[in-house]
């Protein structure tokens, strides 16, 4: 498995449904060996983009390639790409094992491969039960098992955390980490950044069918800058000292009687300043960067819209 043969390259992809452009001149690249989050609010065009990438929807313009070829031109796509697009996509009367064995037959894998992937996703106990009795989380696992059948070096997952409980999400995170560490390309879509924040290394953020930002997750955090929380019995003196060193007044907020919240500075700066000014500190901490806020700023969505429907976009 060389490093660059699992690259996903999307160039100028466009698709219009009726009067509305679902995807407009979208361009981005996904590198192997890492997990990339494909993010955007509901209706941003994520699912349409993934379906064009996988040859299910015909683009109006542009091209998407995986390992240098269009999906339709891959000789044995199941061996290169594994995809989870819909969690309900099973015949309800078939067992999980029968479902997997059908795709073993079609792709020419031995039937034992079905049991291997069932083990891998922790579904072995339910393998002989009809899918109609599966929970949403179990369907997600079965969909993932289907994607893993061909041991693909590229994984494309549309909202894979949907329906998983916190334990399931932790399990998914470990599994995808391991797969990425083996040099595979992992592309994971979500409409909730916080859901994949612990999982992804890179992000591609789209809104209204256009790419608004792509790059490492850490760069996204830097957009917002660091945030420091500090408790002191002399908040007014600290506030004044900070403004004297050039921190704009608007970046300092009084978050309690003895508490300040300062953006754009590091804990080191505040600690040394307080020491120099002989201001006692009771507590000093870096806040977790509010990436969700950055995400909403980029996609133009208000906080209120955040926890909305969890269906695909």
């Amino acid at each position: 498995m060389t490093d660059d043969d699992g690259r996903i390259v999307v160039t100028g992809l466009s698709k219009t449904f009726g009067p509305a452009a679902a995807v407009a001149d979208l361009t981005f690249t996904v590198e192997p060996g890492s997990i990339t989050g494909f993010l955007g609010p509901n209706g941003a065009g994520k699912t349409t983009t993934l379906r064009m990438l996988l040859g299910l929807v015909r683009p109006d313009a542009g091209v998407a390639t995986i390992a240098g070829r269009r999906y339709l031109d891959l000789p044995a796509p199941g061996n290169v790409v594994g995809a989870v697009l819909e969690t309900g996509a099973f015949h309800p009367a078939r067992t999980g094992r029968a479902h997997l064995r059908i795709y073993c037959t079609v792709n020419g894998y031995p039937h034992s491969r079905a049991d291997e992937v069932l083990d891998l996703v922790g579904l072995a106990a339910a393998a002989r039960r009809p899918v109609r009795g599966y929970s949403l989380g179990m369907r997600q696992r079965l969909a993932l098992a289907t994607a893993l059948l061909g041991d693909p070096r590229v994984l494309v997952l549309d909202e894979p955390a949907n329906g998983l409980d916190p334990e399931g999400i932790a399990w998914l995170r470990r599994l995808l980490r391991d797969l990425a560490a083996e040099g595979r390309t992992v592309l994971v879509s979500s409409h909730v950044l916080s859901e994949v924040q612990q999982l992804v290394d890179h992000v591609v953020i789209i809104n209204r069918g256009r790419c608004v930002r792509q790059g490492p997750l850490t760069a996204l955090a830097a957009l917002h800058g660091p945030v420091v929380s500090v408790r002191t019995p002399q908040p007014d003196r600290l506030h004044a000292a900070l403004t004297r060193t050039g921190v704009d007044d608007s970046r300092i907020t009084r978050s309690g009687p003895d508490r300040l919240r300062v953006t754009g500075v590091h804990t080191d700066d505040v600690g040394q300043l307080a020491h120099a000014e002989r201001i006692p500190l009771l507590w000093l901490a870096a806040e977790h960067t509010d990436l969700e806020h950055v995400f909403f700023t980029l996609t133009g969505n208000s906080h209120e819209a955040a926890p909305a429907a969890r269906t695909g976009a």
Binding site: L54, G55, L56, V57, L85, F90, V106
Partner: protein, 254 residues
């Protein structure tokens, strides 16, 4: 292509629908054949006497008459189920050349149709041979055009399977496809064929073409030659299948 066909057979056998429809086809065949024999002496009957080759061919064609619509329904359910249960996504991810998927289904359901035809012909044989013998009619399974009727039935049922797959690929909606098929076969076509003034063109409908191909003689209806019936059925099957394949390969799977 072999793997795709094996996959389709696997899908079919993963649930029991094929078995229930096969049992239904065999039961209907048994009922139809029994009624024909029981009432063959009724002076008002439309079927020729069982002592004649025409009568015996009509009796054996009960197999195709009973099995054809059920095979068409099974084939239609087989392809529309992919859209209904959204497995079309996974199927087309495995095989992005969608025309190959449709071709595999055409072959698979054609083969299934042949199996149905043989099973239903066995039912007619099991009923007709002892019953006619008890009436003093000696039945030669290799004579009186009966092999042609059986062969015609096999061909007819295979084309009904092709029509079912093609219509399903065209419409995608399972309920619409199956209900449409049933309404056509059991309501529309009987009405059209019952009007003598329309006879010159209604004989080119699939049902009368099927009758012609399997050698059914009905005293109240004119029919085509068997080979003409076969050509007409082939034309329907291939046209619908070609249109369905064309659309299935071009439409977005959303």
């Amino acid at each position: 292509m072999r793997r795709l066909i094996a996959g389709e057979i696997h899908k079919l056998l993963a649930t029991r629908l094929w078995l229930w429809l096969l049992l239904a086809a065999m039961a209907i065949t048994a009922l139809y054949a029994s009624l024909q024999i029981a009432f063959s002496d009724d002076p008002d009957t439309w079927t020729p006497p069982l002592t004649t080759p025409d009568g015996q061919q009509t009796l054996f064609a009960a197999a195709a008459s009973a099995a054809s619509p059920l095979v068409a329904v099974l084939a239609a359910i087989g392809i529309t189920g992919e859209y209904r249960h959204r497995t079309a996504t996974t199927t087309f991810l495995s095989t992005p050349r969608r025309g190959r998927v449709i071709a595999a289904k055409l072959v698979t359901y054609g083969l299934v149709g042949i199996g149905y035809a043989l099973a239903c012909t066995a039912v007619v044989t099991a009923i007709a041979v002892p019953w006619l013998s008890a009436r003093g009619i000696e039945l030669s399974l290799t004579g009186n055009g009966l092999p042609a009727t059986t062969a015609g039935g096999i061909i007819a049922i295979a084309f009904y399977a092709v029509i079912g797959v093609g219509l399903g690929a065209l419409l995608r909606e399972q309920v619409a496809t199956v209900v449409g098929l049933l309404i056509y076969l059991f309501v529309l076509e009987p009405i059209l064929t019952s009007i003598p003034a329309l006879d010159t063109w209604s004989r080119y409908l699939p049902g009368p073409a099927d009758n012609a191909l399997t050698g059914i003689t009905l005293t109240n209806q004119e029919s085509l030659q068997p080979w003409q019936g076969g050509l007409v059925l082939a034309a329907y099957g291939l046209t619908i299948a070609a249109a369905g394949t064309y659309l299935a390969t071009r439409r977005d799977v959303a």
